[in-house]
Symmetry: C2
Subunit: 120 residues, 2 copies
C-alpha cells in the first residue's frame, strides 16, 4: 500500500506538445509498484490547454473542479464537449483528445492512463 | 469518448461480503468500451465499511470527501492508515484491504480497478 496526499506534491509545468498553462502531479506510478495503470492530477489554468494528444493507451478522467471543453475527433469531425466537476470521461485507444479551460477558474482533473505494455 | 456525470447516477447499495452502509456508482466500465481498467465511486456512510477484500487486481483510490481509516495487512500485521480528501492510495495485487468511515460525514472516493484479464 502506498499513500500520498495531492496537496503535498508540487505541480510540474507540462511543456509537452501543444500544452499551455497546464500543470501535472504524478500521484501513483511505477515508483509505487503500479504496473498496469497510473494516476495523475492535471491543473489547467484559465486560457490553458492540454497537449493535442493521441496514443494507444486509454484515459479515464474525473473532473474535480472547474469547467472546460474537451475536443475529440469522431469520423474525421471535430466534436466539442463541455465538461464540469463530477464528469467521468473515457477516452478510448487512439482517440485524439485535447482539453481547454475557457473559464476563469482552474480546471482540475484526475487522469488515469494505462501502461503501454497492457495494450500489446 | 464517453462521458457521464456522477451526480446523474443513482448509487447502488453494496451488500457484497462484509460491506455495510456502502454505496457504489459505476462510472466507466465494460459498457463504455473500457477494456483494461474501470472507474467507480464509492460512498461510505458514517459507521459504514467496505468489504474485507483481497484480489489479483490493483486498486487506485482518490479520496474526494470525508475521512476514514484504511486497514491493510503487512507481513501478517494489521496496519491502520488514516485517509482524507486529496489522498491517492495504491493497493497492490492480492493486498488485503478494507475502508471504514468512523467520522460523521460521508466518505466518498473514486476507485479504479484493473480488469482481471490484464493480470494473467
Amino acid at each position: 500500500m502506498k499513500i500520498i496526499n495531492a496537496n503535498e506534491i508540487n505541480p510540474i509545468l507540462l511543456e509537452k506538445g501543444t500544452a499551455k498553462k497546464t500543470w501535472g502531479k504524478y500521484l501513483i506510478g511505477d515508483k509505487d509498484g503500479a504496473k498496469k495503470f497510473h494516476m495523475r492530477i492535471f491543473i489547467v489554468e484559465p486560457g490553458g490547454q492540454t497537449s493535442y494528444d493521441q496514443h494507444i493507451y486509454e484515459h479515464e478522467v474525473f473532473v474535480l473542479k472547474g469547467k472546460g471543453k474537451l475536443v475529440t475527433i469522431k469520423d474525421g469531425n471535430k466534436v466539442e464537449t463541455q465538461i464540469k466537476a463530477g464528469d467521468a470521461i473515457f477516452i478510448e485507444s487512439n482517440e485524439i483528445h485535447q482539453i481547454f479551460n475557457e473559464g476563469d477558474e482552474p480546471l482540475e482533473f484526475i487522469c488515469i492512463k494505462g501502461v503501454k505494455e497492457i495494450y500489446y
